[in-house]
Symmetry: C2
Subunit: 356 residues, 2 copies
């Protein structure tokens, strides 16, 4: 199955992320067509080499929708109607988008990369180098579409992490959205009464500056993100308030032992925050006979993510003899056993082979 | 009045800060005696050149107490009893310490500097270069003692910011203590359920890593700091909870306009966060005839801080003809008018002269 033979892609929406996707795919040898609601921006993208043409290529195997979150469903449905390839997006919120689009050829995506410099002029071919790029296959996802999107994401240098859409949304609420809101809240606190006493804020040391830096960004995209992801954000805000309340209670009671315990827990967690994976040198192949039923792809890729196993490549081979296929996963050699064990525990019967 | 003619100092407590004070004062030509509850640490300080002698020099014009917060009052009173010089400290909380010591020759201090490397082995002569160093004179502070401490702080390269003790405590609660607690709370949130899903935390992007970095530090000193400063910290935690509640309400109601407004406010505040002052090139002298009454020094130095005027040097000249003296302040030339105006508004009759 030649998944990405055509190597022709569309990018819809040419800001920082869309422009960078165009540059990165072109650097990998793809032919990229691009469009933007703002015609002048599309022409600028052509000028800087982020796209080969201002157009939507009906024969592209892949369309990446990189518009603001609110515009994704309509743009994705448009691309699904005009091409027969896979369609993905780069929005910060996934469950509402995946539900709104509701098509087997649509795979939700979210590259965890950004830049201080916003807009098309900040676009870089290496923006995704080493970044985590979440894909959110669900029960209805077409394996061929998933494989196409994954290959393209790997081609731009990112590491794919597969998660169910709602799981992604809960996680980014914890590691991105609520921290952003917290930075804003801390900053507003420091600003209270600061008009008369601005000079005193010079006391703010590096830690405070680090913690509030994100609050300096343009807030333009945040109301939409928070609106779309409020089902995940509101409970996380409540958990944060509860965690602060625990600390407050220990301090108010001058219970220094209890406070030390809470801070030790936090320290332990921070020291154990996993770092980004380096690119693996040795790869192994894990072959998993899978029934041709909904949800298998999502189950296997999500299991790999939960086990900390990076899937470097993925292919589906159909036996042609019935309802069985073989899922071929390329993973780091020293993690293959872990994935093998996880698959066996879930009732699969995988085989492992080391690559030359 | 030769305030610091002797250039002999004691440092009590030889960790990161005490060791760095010793190195910096010695680099400036001072003779430094030092002591520590741990005799081996004092000997190590002698070895690395942080002190000239392991001792308490009874003729030192200045003793800096750099012990943990809880040990400061006893160490400061001991130094006040054994020397006739000024005594200061470097604790993160000021009002309880200043009240506990209660001596005109004691000036509370707090250098806003630190290092990733803790302990004496992290000590550096340039640790305070360009840092803010808060001094907290109050109604009872002796001007000669204040002047001695200020000259030493300036000699190690720090910029003095004068604040009333309780004002300092409220400010560090906002810009240091509560942000630290918040980082811990965010980290504990992210850690919930992370045992099964550690790999997912690889999603945590740079912003989250920045916001939680301080939580990785040894929590050892925090229970004491939070205990001593709980009168300031608890209300700030309550204000933070209220600010998070405002954001939560806007998100829960999907009021995107309101949310945008709150985030815009935070952005404005962050962009206006004053940066550290560069060292001024031109200095001007402001001479302020002052009555010899309590509180004048604290009033003038605090006024300068509130006006954003850095006092590079300070001296008191007594006329010898009664109860009047002259406070001589050295400030940046382009801020002298502002200080002049502020002093006039408070009923002083200052004069300004530009230095050669």
């Amino acid at each position: 199955m030649a998944v990405v033979a055509a190597r022709r892609a569309n990018v819809v929406g040419l800001g920082l992320i869309g422009g960078s996707v165009g540059l990165a795919l072109r650097a990998d040898g793809w032919r990229v067509s691009g469009s933007d609601a703002d015609r002048r921006r599309a022409e600028r993208a052509l000028e800087i080499g982020a796209v080969d043409a201002v157009d939507l290529d009906a024969e592209a195997v892949l369309t990446i929708v990189a518009t603001p979150v609110a515009a994704i469903p309509a743009a994705a449905r448009d691309a699904l109607g005009r091409t027969s390839g896979a369609v993905s997006d780069v929005g910060s919120v996934k469950a509402p988008v995946v539900m709104a689009v509701g098509d087997p050829r649509f795979v939700g995506g979210h590259p965890m990369a950004g830049s201080e410099q916003e807009g098309l002029d900040g676009a870089r071919a290496d923006l995704f180098e080493g970044a985590v790029w979440v894909l959110t296959p669900d029960d209805g996802t077409d394996p061929g579409a998933y494989s196409t999107v994954q290959a393209a994401v790997a081609a731009v240098g990112a590491e794919v992490v597969a998660l169910p859409p709602d799981r992604h949304d809960a996680l980014v609420a914890v590691v991105s959205h609520v921290p952003h809101l917290t930075a804003a809240a801390l900053m507003r606190l420091a600003a209270e009464g600061a008009d008369e006493h601005r000079a005193l804020l010079r006391l703010a040391a590096g830690g405070f500056r680090d913690m509030t830096r994100v609050a300096a960004g343009h807030p333009g995209i945040w109301p939409d993100i928070c609106g779309e992801n409020r089902a995940a954000i509101v409970p996380v805000l409540d958990r944060l308030t509860a965690a602060l309340g625990e600390l407050r209670a220990a301090i108010d009671a001058d219970d220094r032992g209890r406070l030390l315990g809470l801070l030790e827990e936090a320290r332990h967690a921070r020291l154990n925050l996993p770092s980004r994976l380096a690119r693996p040198a040795d790869l192994a192949e894990v072959r998993v006979p899978v029934p041709d039923r909904v949800g298998v792809l999502a189950e296997v890729t999500t299991l790999a993510t939960e086990l900390g196993v990076n899937i470097a490549d993925l292919e589906i081979a159909h036996s042609g003899e019935g309802e069985q296929g073989v899922l071929i996963l390329l993973v780091e050699a020293d993690r293959a056993d872990r994935l093998f064990g996880g698959l066996v525990a879930r009732g699969y019967r995988p085989g492992v082979g080391r690559l030359e």
